[in-house]
Symmetry: D2
């Protein structure tokens, strides 16, 4: 039996909350965390979409309706999660914020109200979720690895580099990085692990027929899309890192990605 | 006569607009640009403060009232500048966005509405100003250096590193960097020079008695505050760079700054 | 049974080589990799030091004498490893290169020959080890995760930031980062996973009495030194990442580290 | 008369030394610095090449033979410059280090001895030049801007990003960045301005017929090569920056460059 197995002896104490509910990273996290024995909540604007109903059926995932860009809604979400599942120890903010109406528009054509909405949906909701999570986690007892809780911000390659035709998205992603950095420097010495995870890739998902998308349309290279199950696994490993060796930022990209 | 002197032969065609009106960088820019023969406009929420009235008296600077976080107000500002001074070729966004009520507050104590306000005041206003400037500059004739216009975003050290107790400020600064990066990659190939200038320092200013603050209170080292006149000079040099050798990001810090 | 358990079905095929043989990361890696069933080789200038002899006794680790800054010696090392253990699939370059005679010396006082020696010992040896590893791994069959092999460069915080009084060390660390980046962009699309791991911390080790150092002398905070067992665990996780989601750089630091 | 003109009142006190002698940046710097009244020395392995002989004729530039990767040779160079021109206040290290025999070779094919030679020629020579310059500049009297001297390291885009097929070059460039960072943190508080200038571009030069190359072969876009005269101008501006607002790193790239 290895060190990592013995150290984290009470995984059942863990409670996970995933904010943002799609068929990719959120669903993979929900499944993996539930399989490892955690009560899992998932919050989305529309908690009734089929992917979430399926997660409830197959993995007992609890569904919550929440507009994560509204302060009161986020506060209520965390109250409900504490009531239903217990205080969370692993919170994933998984809202991308890309909006069809503005993404891939030139700066001179972009609708300002959509730019502000992008900032609200992605970066400001991350602030709200991070704030509520931190308030609760401060009161947690450290686990065997010295961790009171882990807050993971899923991010995108625009966090590393602002691309043309996506100014608002670059703003939101880099704002999220700024939030994560500030929270990390403030909260890591208090035992709360903060992680920023820019995914430099298109992300695969489970398709209607149950198979996994793993290849971009029109390409012949396998695995040039990031497998969300593998991302979920990295998230779990990050949560289980010992506090003497915490990673703050991990960029994940497929083997053939250009960067 | 040197290359740089001969190249930029028509400085009188230049028109400058400074958004944000304080006694530091904005005032120094206004003075320097006016001394070099540019018509200069300066926009502020309160255009009647004495520093701006003085700039009007001493340097003929035109004052504009503008809440730069409002799309319609920014659109109107640029219309008025074009009418009064001509299409701008040098635009400086100089709004810091730090709010006393939230800066230096822990993430768990920070007022969410102030966090959103910080994003609006600093990052979103930069989007609006950048957008209007880009729309006009696209139509400019390139000057002798191949430049249709220069847009400079004054930024802070939080753009480089999110510090504790200032999550909202870090979000705003890094959002501004993301904006600048995206705009640079989009607009530089169209002849518009985009620059992000994180000032990693406290900034000096002209004090009531006319002398310059240059030293932090309680220290004995001269020039440990950034001299805004020197910053303005760097801005002018950036505007005059030939398009074959544009700098996108310049971090300015005093010789004794820790980093 | 989870995805990660099923995917990596033949861990016994793995062969590990660790270059650099100290009581910290190298010893922890050797133990962990051996416990997971890998044949393990470890190379050091002096392979007879007691820590390595103990690893041979307790974990069957094979010891090799090698001056890793000598091209012919590194070539011979890999030939011997292939002969004894098989072609390596996991190679860790773990030579720090700090030299007492130059580290913490001002640039004007530093002995140039020691600066060059620092570059040779750390960065150039990483080039040699990376080159030999890549030559062999290219010929490996991909494992269940699509990986032909993993090359991990242990690095230091100077890779991220050149500190005063350690110019030569900063040069070596950043050279190592440059090597890792170039190799990653070249070899990842060929199925070889390259990772750069700056450890932003003092590193603990097993003391004479068998206990682990975990706290800096003179401090009261637990776990303010990086636990090498935890580092080894992260290395193993990196080796097992699926190629659709590879991390290239992971910075590890203790929860209370300033950065 | 503007601030910058009045501040730096004694340009004749300046003494410039350029290490590395090609027809691009080195020649442009030599011309510009001489035109501004500085005694200028230029050091190269072969000081008799025609571009340097011409600089002597047209601008009175002093030529020095020096293998800058040899400690004794660099020490002697500075002694000779002090004897001939006075203690330097502006030193440019302008050795690229790319070697035809290894550049664009895959890591598995690259000749190790050439990799080491690349490190020596570029990074180690920068260490030697920086060290000698710092020793002398420490003793200088600060000029009107508070500067005892400026040391500029010309660098390449590989300093920012290690590209495939150029591992040794990436090592050398990033080592140079590490050197510059360490020296900056150590020497800037002593009044010596250190600057790292990655040029993210192909660099134009004066062709046989006296015209400037400004466009990459096979392209139709003007000014897609960096103009070395403009680079020289930026170097001079950096040297003249007031110490309250020093830039440490400036990346220069043409308007149409992809990054």
């Amino acid at each position: 039996m290895t060190q990592s197995d013995t150290r984290d002896t009470k995984p059942s104490q863990d409670v996970a909350l995933i904010v943002g509910g799609g068929p990719g990273i959120s669903a993979s996290c929900a499944r993996l965390f539930a399989e490892r024995g955690m009560p899992v909540g998932i919050a989305a604007r529309d908690p009734d979409k089929s992917v979430l109903q399926n997660l409830e059926k197959t993995h007992g995932v609890r569904r919550y309706a929440c507009d994560a860009s509204e302060p009161a809604a986020v506060e209520l979400l965390f109250q409900n999660v504490v009531r239903d599942l217990g205080a969370p120890t692993l919170v994933v903010h998984n809202i991308d914020g890309r909006m069809a109406g503005i993404f891939r528009k030139g700066i001179t054509e972009a609708d300002p109200s959509m730019a502000l909405e992008t900032l609200r949906n992605s970066a400001f909701s991350a602030f709200l979720v991070g704030q509520q999570a931190a308030r609760l986690m401060r009161e947690n007892t450290p686990n065997a690895n010295g961790t009171k809780g882990t807050i993971i911000f899923t991010n995108a390659s625009a966090a590393l580099k602002g691309f043309p035709l996506s100014a608002a998205f670059a703003m939101a992603c880099q704002a999220k990085s700024g939030l994560a950095q500030s929270m990390a420097r403030e909260l890591m010495p208090q035992g709360i692990h903060i992680v920023n995870v820019p995914i430099d890739a298109a992300i695969g998902w489970t398709q209607e027929d149950g198979t996994r998308a793993h290849r971009l349309a029109g390409t012949t290279v396998d695995d040039n899309m990031a497998d969300p199950d593998s991302i979920a696994e990295t998230y779990l490993q990050l949560h289980r890192q010992h506090r003497s060796t915490w990673a703050f930022e991990v960029v994940l990209r497929p083997w053939v990605e250009k960067w």
